[in-house]
């Protein structure tokens, strides 16, 4: 029992890292910032779901999906459809030509609820749909691609094209999806107002718990035999195939898991922000989420969360004060990280953590000489972590 638990969190170091992240999310941030900023952090943390899914898929599986926005969007739209239907009951929408359907449908001369909206009238079905539809969609894409041994850049390009198709489709079918504005004015879940401060706190904590849960699930997957196979597949796919494993099934499985985790993030996004729009589905958000993951470290589940928070914090600060500089900075950051720090923040941290350990050993032997070397390194390490 104890051994499997330690395997789950990844030993002593993994447990400390996870505890630090949990402390930051559950204690430091709620105490340190007001509810407006906390809501913003909550929004960023929903992107972290996608970054975590990319660590599984890209860092460990070597499968770069430039279409994770698809699954984030499917999850987000699922939740948004449920909340929209609840917001448009016949009494509040009685001024419409057809009461009881969402307002944008009425504006587009639609007189009946489309068939695919019906399941979203019930919360259990909605939650089921949020988890199952993205996974099924991922299964379909993965089955078609991986069974034919399509991988690498081809997979990246095709997922990108699918993200583009989906976003054009949502924008184009205004009457069915809300078009470019997305689905807006979402207020309640089963009569519970999500816009009050207390609801925001509760949603923030639910989001945090789900995020830690996703990280634990991912750790569990990565620490199992399957995780080893995933790494082996990334590095020498042919060899794994010749050892008798069905590589494509593993790839499909991890793609489905990643899709599910992203979809949970999308649903939490809708709950906390109160709307969903096609601008979170297309190519640009999908690639941005890859940046979050790359900055945090494509091999580190916890690093991906820090990367997401850091990049988004930078985006908020810079786009408020120097909007012109931000794209330069973002592009530059991306180029630098990819070229010089392929393992992101986590890679930098590990490099310096090892150095410090080495120096500590060294300073035990010669305490007076090494004493002034250690602190500067510690400062660097703290800088890297922040």
């Amino acid at each position: 029992m104890n051994a499997s638990l330690s395997k789950l969190v990844g030993g002593k170091q993994g447990a400390i890292g996870l505890a630090l992240l949990a402390a930051l999310i559950f204690v430091v941030l709620p105490l340190g910032v007001d509810i407006f900023r906390l809501n913003l952090v909550g929004k960023y943390l929903t992107y972290a779901f996608v970054a975590v899914s990319l660590v599984l898929l890209w860092g460990n599986g070597g499968i770069l999906s430039l279409g994770q926005g698809i699954f984030f969007g499917l999850g987000g739209y699922g939740m948004a459809m449920f909340m929209k239907l609840e917001a448009s009951d016949p009494i509040t929408t009685k001024i419409q030509t057809t009461p009881g359907i969402p307002d944008f449908m009425d504006w587009n001369q639609i007189t009946e609820l489309p068939w695919f909206w019906h399941p979203f009238q019930s919360l259990p079905l909605t939650i089921l749909a949020i988890l199952v539809i993205p996974a099924l969609f991922a299964y379909f894409i993965g089955f078609a691609m991986f069974k034919r041994r399509v991988g690498g850049v081809y997979f990246a390009i095709i997922t990108q094209a699918i993200a583009l198709i989906l976003s054009i489709l949502i924008v184009g079918q205004q009457g069915l999806t809300g078009g470019v504005n997305g689905i807006t004015d979402l207020k309640t879940v089963m009569g519970w107002d999500t816009r009050t401060d207390s609801a925001k706190y509760i949603l923030y904590y639910v989001n945090g718990i789900l995020l830690i849960g996703s990280i634990l699930l991912s750790k569990y997957i990565l620490n199992s035999k399957f995780g080893m196979l995933l790494l082996a597949m990334r590095d020498k796919e042919e060899r794994v195939r010749f050892s008798g494993y069905d590589v494509s099934n593993f790839k499909i499985f991890i793609f489905c898991v990643a899709a599910m985790i992203s979809a949970v993030g999308g649903a939490m996004f809708t709950l906390q922000v109160g709307f969903m729009s096609p601008s979170f589905v297309g190519i640009v958000p999908s690639i941005e989420m890859v940046i979050f993951c790359a900055v945090g470290g494509r091999m580190s589940l916890i690093g991906a969360v820090y990367g997401t928070l850091l990049v988004n914090y930078g985006k908020t600060v810079f786009s408020e004060t120097y909007p012109e500089l931000w794209l330069f900075l973002m592009g530059g950051l991306f180029i630098t990280v990819v070229m010089f720090f392929p393992n992101g923040l986590a890679g930098i941290y590990e490099k310096y953590a090892k150095k410090i350990k080495f120096l500590r050993k060294f300073s035990d032997a010669q305490p007076e000489k090494a004493a002034d070397v250690v602190p500067t390194n510690e400062i660097k390490e703290m800088g890297a972590k922040a």
């Binding site: 850049v153 390009i157 094209a161 924008v171 184009g172 794209l327 973002m330 530059g332 180029i335």
Partner: protein, 305 residues
Amino acid sequence: MFGYSMGDIGNIMIMQGFSGLSMFTVLLLMALGLAIIFGQMGVINMAHGEFMTIGAYTTVMLSKVAATYGFVNYYFLIAIVLAFILAFALGYFVEFIMIRHLYKRPLDTLLATWGLSLVMQQAFRSSFGAKEMSAELPEWMLGSFKPTPDIDIPINGVFVMVLALLVTAGVYIFMYRSRWGLRVRATVQNRVMAGAVGINTKKVDRVTFALGCGIAGVAGAAFTTIASTGPTTGTLYIVDSFMVVVFGGAASLMGTIASAFGIAQAQSILQFFMTSSMGKVTTLLVIVGILMMKPEGLFASKLRK
């Protein structure tokens, strides 16, 4: 069919077909550059659209200069050459500082060049403003000719098409009939052996990449004749041109031409009968569907991997 008579359908087909041809030229030129870079070197250049935008801005700026000094009638030819040179030079530089360090990590090139495209977009916005600009076309390019009263074919469309055909022929000669092309193909087939027989493979890489970017610049010059240029113009075509390259089968010149033609025509004709977004969605869906069944593309050479 859709409430049109057969004669109308014929005319619509021809005219939409022709407007599809302008799109075909831009797509073809974009895809040619990409196909050279991706097909020959395996590098995904996400900033390719921005190299096209460089060409487009060059043409627009030159047209403004031409309007003040009065050589509007033939500035366009200079613009094409200048667009090529500028995009080529920048491509050469980018390969030197960035791409060459990433050849062993193709997925990372994709991400790094996307970062580059962000930087370039912002650079365009800062230097030319966020507003779209259009070039002043020379008089001989305006207007249209009418083979029958119902059919209207714009001359600028014909001009860019001729341009695209010339560039394609040029690329063909360069790749398959010149010493340089021989070296490029040798490097692609076996890098180590090519190096052993005295080919400077690093230089080949750099020139190949720069050439692809230069052709994107020409695509930009052609683009100004059909639409106006803004900082994010390049992003409009990037996915389409990737689709063209993958669909046609990378490293196949004929495949690139055929798939650029097919995709542009399908979009143009479908957009007339459906809404513009549904036309695009249908085309892309069909391509993705075909690619899922035939991932190596339509015209890929049969290779054992």
